[in-house]
C-alpha cells in the first residue's frame, strides 16, 4: 500500500524546463496512466518518481514519506523499461532473482520466490534460458517478473508494450490488467502515448502536454467531459471533430467539439453540410469523411453505410453531446 503525492514538481535540464509545476495525488492501489504526445514530459515525470532523475524543485512523497533524496532502490518501486533492460548474460532465473540477491536473501528463499513468480507469469520452463532465447512477449514477462518478485509497493511502467507487435500488445495489455487484479494493493504508474492503452487499463488518466498536467480523471470522465480542446482531441479514436465559425457561434462558443458517433443525418439542409469524400467500412462501423466548409469531419455510422462517395450529406450534432470551448480553448460551463 503506497500512495504517491507530487507537489509543485519542476524538472529542468539546463535551460529546458521539462516538467512545469505538476501537482498530482495518486491513491494507494490505483492504476494511473500518464498519456500525452511524445516530448510532453511523461517519461521524465515517471523517471522522477523512480528516482533515476532528480526533481529540480517540489516535493515527492511515496507512502507519505518525502523521497526527494532517497535513491531509487530505497523507494520501494519497481520499474519495467520500454527496452525490457534484461541482463543479457544472466538466465531468466538470475534476471528475476537479481534484486533479491542484492537484498542479501538466502539462496533457498530466492529460489522459492523466483519460482513462484515464474509460475505466475508462465515462465517456469524458461527459467534457465538466456534472454536472447526468448520471444518479445516472454522478455516482457521476465521484465514484469523482476518487478513482481521484489514485492514493490509501486510499479512504474515506461511504455512497456511499444516494442511489441499489435496482436501481442493486446495480449500483454490483458496480462497487465490481470496482474493489476492479482495485486490490488500495488500502485501502478504506466506511461504510454497510446490512448487506447490508457482508456482500457487506467483507473485514472493523467493527460500531459508540454510538461503540464492538462486533466486528470477516469477514462470516461475524460471522454465525456474533456476540459480543453487538447484533451478532447487526444482522447478518443477517431479524433473528435472541432467546428469553428457559424455553428459554434450559434452556441456561444469559439469552437465546438463533436465526436464522430454524435452526428445525425438530416434530410433538410443544416449548418454543417458537405460531400462524402471517402468511406472506411470496418464491418461493425463505417467511418465517413465529409468535406465541409469548416473542414474535414469524421462521422461514425454503425454497420455498413449506404451512402456513396460524392453524395451530399447534411450533418446535425446531437445537442447533449456537443462540447463547447471558449477562446482560451478551455471548456465552457
Amino acid at each position: 500500500m503506497a500512495n504517491i503525492k507530487l507537489t509543485n514538481i519542476n524538472k529542468s535540464y539546463g535551460s529546458h524546463h521539462i516538467i512545469k509545476d505538476v501537482n498530482l495525488d495518486i491513491k494507494s492501489g490505483e492504476f494511473i496512466v500518464f498519456v500525452g504526445p511524445s516530448g510532453c514530459g511523461k517519461s521524465t515525470l515517471l523517471r522522477s518518481i523512480s528516482g533515476l532523475d532528480q526533481v529540480s524543485s517540489g516535493t515527492l512523497e511515496i507512502d507519505n514519506a518525502v523521497v526527494n533524496d532517497v535513491p531509487p532502490s530505497k523507494r520501494g518501486i519497481a520499474m519495467v523499461f520500454q527496452s525490457y533492460a534484461l541482463y543479457p548474460h544472466m538466465s531468466v532465473f538470475e534476471n528475476i532473482g537479481f534484486a533479491l540477491e542484492n537484498q542479501g536473501l538466502p539462496r533457498a528463499e530466492i529460489k522459492q520466490k523466483v519460482e513462484a513468480v515464474g509460475e505466475l507469469l508462465q515462465l517456469t520452463s524458461y527459467l534457465t534460458r538466456l534472454p536472447k532465447a526468448l520471444s518479445g512477449g516472454q522478455r516482457q514477462r521476465v521484465a514484469i517478473g523482476r518487478a513482481i518478485v521484489r514485492g514493490a509497493k509501486v510499479f512504474l511502467f515506461d511504455e512497456p508494450l511499444s516494442n511489441l507487435d499489435a496482436a501481442l500488445r493486446v495480449q500483454m495489455r490483458m496480462e497487465i490488467a490481470k496482474l493489476k487484479r492479482d495485486l490490488p494493493n500495488t500502485t501502478m504508474v504506466y506511461v504510454t502515448h497510446d490512448q487506447v492503452e490508457a482508456m482500457t487499463m487506467a483507473d485514472r488518466i493523467v493527460v500531459l502536454q508540454a510538461g503540464k498536467v492538462m486533466q486528470v480523471g477516469t477514462p470516461m470522465e475524460l471522454y465525456e467531459n474533456p476540459n480543453s480542446v487538447f484533451v478532447a482531441g487526444f482522447i478518443g479514436s477517431p479524433k473528435m471533430n472541432f467546428i469553428t465559425g457559424k455553428p459554434a457561434e450559434k452556441l456561444k462558443a469559439k469552437t465546438i467539439g463533436v465526436r464522430p458517433e454524435h452526428f445525425e443525418f438530416s434530410k433538410t439542409a443544416t449548418d454543417i453540410s458537405g460531400t462524402l469524400d471517402y468511406t472506411e467500412i470496418l464491418g461493425s462501423d463505417s467511418f465517413l469523411y465529409v468535406s465541409t466548409s469548416t473542414g474535414m469531419l469524421t462521422v461514425r455510422e454503425p454497420g455498413r453505410t449506404q451512402f456513396k462517395t460524392g453524395q451530399k450529406l447534411n450533418l446535425k450534432p446531437i445537442a447533449e453531446h456537443v462540447h463547447r470551448f471558449g477562446v482560451d480553448d478551455q471548456r465552457l460551463k
Binding site: 532502490s73 527496452s83 525490457y84 533492460a85 534484461l86 537479481f98 542484492n102 536472447k132
Partner: protein, 386 residues
C-alpha cells in the same frame, strides 16, 4: 540465390585484399615453422619450400681396402655399403662415379669399368661390389667413389631441444611470461574500474579527466622513459628496493598501457544500454555490484581485445625491458635474447628460426584463443532488436 554469387567489383576487391593479407601473414609464419623443424644441413642446402621434396646431395667415400677382399671362383671382390662410415648420410643412391669431375657418371645399379679390368657396381640402397680378376693390392684398393644420394625430407625437433635447453631460450621464455602476464592483468584491473567510473558515475571534473587521459594517449613512450626510470630509481632507493626488478617493469608497462586501456574500455562501457544500468540501480545494486555483475561480464569482448593488444605489445617489447630489467639470464626477456643470439649465432639458421618460432607461439595462442570475443555479440537479447 544467384545474386549472392554475383561478382560485384567491391566484393572482388575485398576478397582479394583478404587473400593478400592471409598470404602475407601465412607464408612467413609457415616458412619459419618449417625451417625450424628441418635439419641444419638441409636449411643450408635448400629453401623451406623444398622441404617436402627429396634433396640430392653429392657425397664421396672411400671403399674398403684389400684387407676385406674375398676370393671366389678366381675372382676377387670387395663389397660394402657407401652409407657406412663416419660421414655417412641416409637415402638412395641415384648415380655414382670415380672421378671428381663426373660424380654422376654411372646410374645406380649399372656396372662401371675401372682400370685394370676392375668393375664397380653401386646399388640404389648403397651396397656396392668391386670386383677384379686379380687380387687387390695396396695400390689399387681403397679407391674413392663419388655418388649422388637423394635424401627423403627429414624433420626434427632437435633445433627446439637445442634452443630451449642449451641456448637459454627456455629461461628467457619464462622471463617473458613473468613480465607479460602481470603487465597485462594489472592495467586491465585498474582500467576497468576507471572506465566504469568515467562512464557511469557522477564525478566532479569527469570530462576533464577523460580529456587528460585521451591526451596521455599521444605521449611518446621514449619521451617519458628516462624520467620514469629516474623516478622509479629514486623511489626505489628511498624505499630500499633494488633498481632492476620485475615489479619495476610491471609498473612501467601498466603506466604505459593505462591510457589506452581506459580509453578503449570507457567507450565500450559507455555504449552499454542506459536502461541496463538503471535497471540494476532500481534492483538495489550499488556501483560496485553493477560493475561486477552487469558491466564486467558484458564488456568481456573489450577486455579481451585490450588484453590481446597489451599482451602482444609487452611480449614484443624490447625497449622498456632493456631499460627496466637487467641482462642476466634470470631477467633477459625473449626479445633481448633473440637480439643477443642474432649477434652470437647469426649464421645458425636452425637456432634463429626455432628461437623465433618459440617467440611467436605465445602471441599466436593468445590471439586464437581470444579472437572469438571480437565477433561474438554478447548484447544479443538484452534490448529491443538485440
Amino acid at each position: 540465390m544467384l545474386k549472392r554469387f554475383s561478382l560485384e567489383p567491391s566484393r572482388i576487391a575485398l576478397n582479394l585484399a583478404v587473400l593478400l593479407i592471409i598470404a602475407l601473414w601465412t607464408f612467413p609464419t609457415a616458412g619459419l615453422l618449417i625451417s625450424s623443424l628441418r635439419d641444419k644441413n638441409d636449411i643450408a642446402a635448400s629453401g623451406w619450400w623444398t622441404a617436402l621434396s627429396s634433396a640430392n646431395v653429392n657425397k664421396k667415400t672411400h671403399l674398403k681396402d684389400m684387407v676385406d677382399q674375398v676370393e671366389k671362383d678366381g675372382k676377387f671382390t670387395i663389397s660394402g655399403n657407401v652409407f657406412e662410415g663416419a660421414d655417412a648420410v641416409s637415402g638412395k643412391v641415384s648415380a655414382f662415379g670415380t672421378k671428381v669431375q663426373a660424380p654422376g657418371e654411372n646410374a645406380a645399379g649399372a656396372s662401371a669399368a675401372l682400370d685394370g679390368g676392375q668393375s664397380l657396381v653401386v646399388n640404389p640402397d648403397g651396397s656396392y661390389v668391386l670386383s677384379s680378376p686379380t687380387a687387390f693390392t695396396a695400390d689399387n684398393s681403397g679407391i674413392r667413389v663419388f655418388y649422388i644420394a637423394s635424401q627423403p625430407p627429414r624433420f626434427t625437433l632437435d633445433n627446439y631441444q637445442t634452443v630451449l635447453f642449451s641456448e637459454g631460450i627456455g629461461r628467457s621464455f619464462i622471463n617473458s611470461l613473468t613480465v607479460t602476464i602481470p603487465s597485462t592483468i594489472i592495467p586491465i584491473l585498474i582500467a576497468a574500474f576507471a572506465a566504469y567510473a568515467l562512464a557511469w558515475m557522477k564525478l566532479p571534473f569527469r570530462g576533464l579527466i577523460i580529456a587528460i587521459i585521451v591526451g596521455l594517449l599521444v605521449v611518446p613512450l621514449q619521451m617519458s622513459l628516462i624520467p620514469l626510470l629516474k623516478l622509479y630509481n629514486a623511489a626505489g632507493t628511498f624505499m630500499g628496493a633494488p633498481s632492476k626488478t620485475y615489479l619495476g617493469i610491471w609498473l612501467a608497462h601498466t603506466g604505459f598501457g593505462l591510457p589506452f586501456a581506459i580509453y578503449l574500455l570507457r567507450s565500450y562501457i559507455a555504449g552499454l544500454p542506459k536502461d541496463l544500468i538503471e535497471s540494476a540501480q532500481i534492483d538495489g545494486a550499488n556501483d560496485f555490484k553493477i560493475f561486477r555483475r552487469v558491466v564486467l561480464p558484458l564488456c568481456f569482448p573489450a577486455l579481451a581485445s585490450f588484453a590481446i593488444f597489451q599482451f602482444l605489445w609487452v611480449w614484443n617489447d624490447l625497449l622498456v625491458a632493456i631499460v627496466f630489467l637487467g641482462s642476466g639470464p634470470d631477467q633477459l626477456v625473449l626479445t633481448g635474447k633473440l637480439n643477443a643470439l642474432l649477434g652470437s649465432r647469426g649464421g645458425n639458421w636452425e637456432i634463429l628460426t626455432a628461437s623465433a618460432f618459440v617467440t611467436i607461439i605465445v602471441p599466436l595462442t593468445v590471439f586464437f584463443s581470444l579472437q572469438r570475443y571480437f565477433v561474438r555479440g554478447l548484447l544479443a537479447g538484452s534490448v529491443k532488436g538485440g
